[in-house]
């Protein structure tokens, strides 16, 4: 079962964010909770101290009623459950809850255990003087025990109640309900949980959205496009590539499709050439004999006719066209034969110069200016010099015929250092070619010369270059001119100097 990438990513994000947010929330919450408790304890201590101080004066003057009154009043305050004063024996001397007065707490009770740890009396620190407990009524309380230390003023008082030997005179016990704190904590935890969940959901959505835009949609486009190409259909180039890896992928795909198109075209062309070759050989062979008959019989008719015979013209036509057929067949066979090339080390510049010498005097070139720019010391090419010459001959003649009124032909040869290819160009200022012509110019039997040739010249050229491991392409603009670029692989050998 295919699980979508988007889903996988969201799942991963959800799980990990849940983990992290969850843990963070718990830690934060715990911290919050203990902060509150610490705060409450501090507050409690403040309370106890304040109460102690406010009772001090009355105690000193032995005004028990005032003490009772104060304790009762404080006990009624909001935020205080009760206030009690223990004697060192554990008996409740004063209490805001009247009923408790006189009650005794054994040494091992919770309240006493704060300081009487394991029969030893210790002076615990603040944190230990407080205790949080849950009472029978289900409410959580904070109890603070503050021992009342014996001071000079206490044992020198008129009432002579306390001796100077006592260290502790009694214990103040303040009990604070933690309801509100509990409430706050509960609210807090709900809020935290809610926030965490919301955060996880939002994160997931945002992640999904971002992934969708940056990755999923481009991928879907690519999957669709590559699927089409795999089926053998061409597809429009994909648009919308940004400056990132997805953009690069999209651009790569577009480039790849172009390359595929070109390769396929070349393959088709190759295949066409091959079949034309076979066809040509077969047809040519078949045609030889009938042509023999036509030619000789036409010649005979011509020879037998009288000087003034009006039919002479006709016989002449038959003879001439038969000879033309012969030439066509021979061209076809030359093309089809694909003779094993005679390989030698060829200097392309020499070939170019030779070809130029050959054509200079021809009629078509008389009003053409030929300019050369041949890079000296070109590396040699392994190939058939004759065939290479045929290529350039072809190109030059095409150039001349593209500008019957005259023009300029520029021939260049270039080789960059370390470049495996030697580049040669033949540029003319002739009538140029349309897009369609450019596309089809190398096809066998395609000609722009309207029936004057069989359209094999460039197809032969293409075939020759393919065999040599080179290539040819064309740039052209109507009425501006045409440039053919021929590339040949350089042969790694010492450059032959003149």
């Amino acid at each position: 079962m295919q699980i979508k990438i988007g889903l996988k990513i969201v799942l991963a994000v959800v799980v990990f964010s849940a983990l992290i947010i969850g843990l963070t929330s718990i830690f934060a919450f715990n911290f919050y909770q203990s902060s509150i408790i610490d705060q409450m304890e501090l507050t409690g201590q403040q309370f106890a101290r304040t109460i102690k101080t406010s009772l001090n004066h009355n105690m000193m003057n032995n005004q028990y009623d005032s003490v009772r009154h104060t304790i009762a009043a404080i006990g009624k305050q909001e935020g205080i459950a009760k206030v009690r004063l223990f004697t060192v024996q554990g008996q409740i001397f004063y209490s805001s809850k009247i009923k408790e007065v006189g009650k005794s707490y054994p040494m091992d009770s919770l309240e006493c255990m704060v300081c009487h740890v394991n029969d030893k009396l210790e002076a615990p620190k603040l944190e230990q003087r407080t205790k949080i407990f849950e009472a029978e009524d289900g409410i959580t309380y904070l109890g603070i025990f503050d021992p009342i230390n014996n001071e000079k003023g206490c044992y020198t008082a008129d009432c002579h109640y306390h001796s100077s030997e006592s260290k502790i005179l009694g214990v103040l016990d303040v009990v604070i309900p933690l309801e509100s704190m509990q409430e706050r904590i509960k609210t807090g935890s709900i809020r935290t949980a809610a926030f965490a969940i919301l955060a996880i959901i939002i994160l997931s959505f945002v992640t999904l959205l971002v992934v969708r835009i940056l990755v999923l949609l481009p991928i879907r486009k690519l999957v669709a496009a590559t699927g089409r190409v795999a089926k053998g259909e061409w597809t429009d180039p994909i648009s919308g590539g940004r400056q990132d890896e997805m953009g690069d992928l999209i651009r790569s795909f577009n480039r790849m499709q172009e390359t595929l198109k070109v390769s396929q075209r070349q393959l088709v062309l190759s295949g066409k050439l091959a079949s034309v070759g076979k066809l040509a050989a077969g047809v040519a062979h078949e045609i030889n004999n009938p042509l023999t008959g036509i030619l000789t019989f036409a010649e005979d008719l011509l020879d037998e006719s009288e000087e003034d015979d009006p039919k002479r013209e006709d016989y002449l036509v038959i003879k001439r066209e038969s000879i033309r057929c012969r030439q066509i067949v021979r061209n076809l066979l030359d093309f089809a034969r694909q003779d094993k090339p005679q390989i030698s080390s060829v200097d392309v510049n020499e070939v170019l110069k030779r070809t130029i010498t050959l054509i200079e005097r021809l009629a078509q070139f008389q009003n053409c200016v030929i300019e050369t720019s041949l890079q000296p010391n070109l590396p040699l090419v392994r190939g058939d010099a004759g065939q290479l010459q045929q290529i350039y001959l072809n190109l030059l003649i095409n150039s001349a015929e593209a500008m019957p009124e005259g023009g300029k032909i520029t021939i260049k040869s270039i080789h960059g250092r370390r470049n495996p290819l030697i580049t040669t160009t033949v540029t003319d200022t002739g009538i140029g070619m349309s897009e369609e012509e450019k596309r089809r110019i190398f096809e066998p039997f395609y000609s722009t010369k309207k029936g004057k040739t069989q359209g094999l010249g460039l197809a032969v050229t293409w075939g020759i270059l393919e065999q040599h491991g080179g290539s040819i392409d064309v740039e052209s603009e109507v009425d501006k001119g045409t440039k053919f670029t021929v590339r040949l692989p350089a042969y790694r050998t010492k450059i032959r100097k003149k």
Partner: protein, 263 residues
């Protein structure tokens, strides 16, 4: 004045036989036509022919086999191979085995008639060349050295020059079949010539233009101006004069088609 002679034409296509007859309609030649090599050999048993024209590619027996049978029966007959353009190289190679000349189909009247004329002029072939094996053919390009001479039998010869270029000349036997040469048409410097194609035209007093087959492909470096100015030098001097100097671009491959020889 027109020589008489007996010709046998062998080709499986009737139209070709008719064409040959048409070409020689007004000649004094006696022409027999057959459509199979076996029939041809049968004909040879009862008649002596001067020239046999045969197709190279025939069902059953090909032209080369036929050539060997013919030579066994009659060493003196001149055999002209006709063939489609695609198999020209094979035809050229047949000259090594003793064929007199070859011609590509379709041929013009002039082409066939000139070859026939030469064949008749030649007279009896007295020296049948040794078979390919003993001629030292195919020794390999490594054996090429200046001074070596090879021939395209009865047409042209080549000699390797000290600078490894190749000069082409006309075989004496060719000259003897064409008569007085009054004009010479040669390719120009820079032109390419191909083995088996024409590389020179010899114009004679009787208005014919004989095509000389090129023995090796290459690029023309120079032509012999001495001879172009006075073509009669070709026939008159004892030592054969070269007519074209080429840079033979495919010599390693093509040299096997020629016979080792002397000028």
């Amino acid at each position: 004045m027109q020589k008489s002679g007996k010709i046998l034409v062998v080709d499986d296509e009737e139209v070709v036989l008719l064409s040959v007859r048409k070409v020689f309609k007004h000649s004094n030649y006696e022409i027999d036509t057959v459509q199979s090599p076996q029939l041809g050999l049968a004909m040879m048993e009862s008649r002596k022919y001067d020239v046999i024209i045969t197709d190279l590619m025939m069902p059953g027996m090909n032209g080369l086999e036929f050539l060997q049978h013919v030579q066994k029966m009659d060493k003196s007959v001149r055999v002209i191979m006709i063939t489609g353009y695609a198999t020209m190289r094979t035809a050229l190679q047949s000259m090594r085995s003793g064929a007199f000349d070859f011609l590509a189909k379709p041929f013009t009247k002039a082409e066939l008639s000139n070859v026939m004329h030469r064949a008749m002029q030649r007279g009896a072939m007295t020296d049948v060349p040794p078979s390919a094996e003993t001629a030292g053919i195919g020794e390999g390009a490594g054996a090429l050295e200046p001074g070596m001479v090879y021939t395209l039998r009865d047409h042209s010869w080549v000699r390797i020059e000290p600078d490894m270029s190749v000069v082409i000349g006309v075989e004496k036997s060719f000259l003897s079949t064409v008569g007085n040469v009054s004009g010479l048409e040669l390719p120009v410097k820079g032109e390419n010539v191909s083995q088996g194609a024409g590389c020179a035209k010899l114009l004679t007093d009787d208005g014919r233009a004989y095509t000389l087959w090129c023995p090796l492909s290459g690029r023309v470096l120079k032509t012999n101006s001495e001879v172009t100015e006075d073509p009669s030098l070709l026939s008159s001097s004892n030592k054969s004069k070269w007519i074209i100097k080429i840079d033979a671009t495919a010599i390693e491959n093509e040299i096997e088609d020629l016979l080792r020889g002397t000028e």
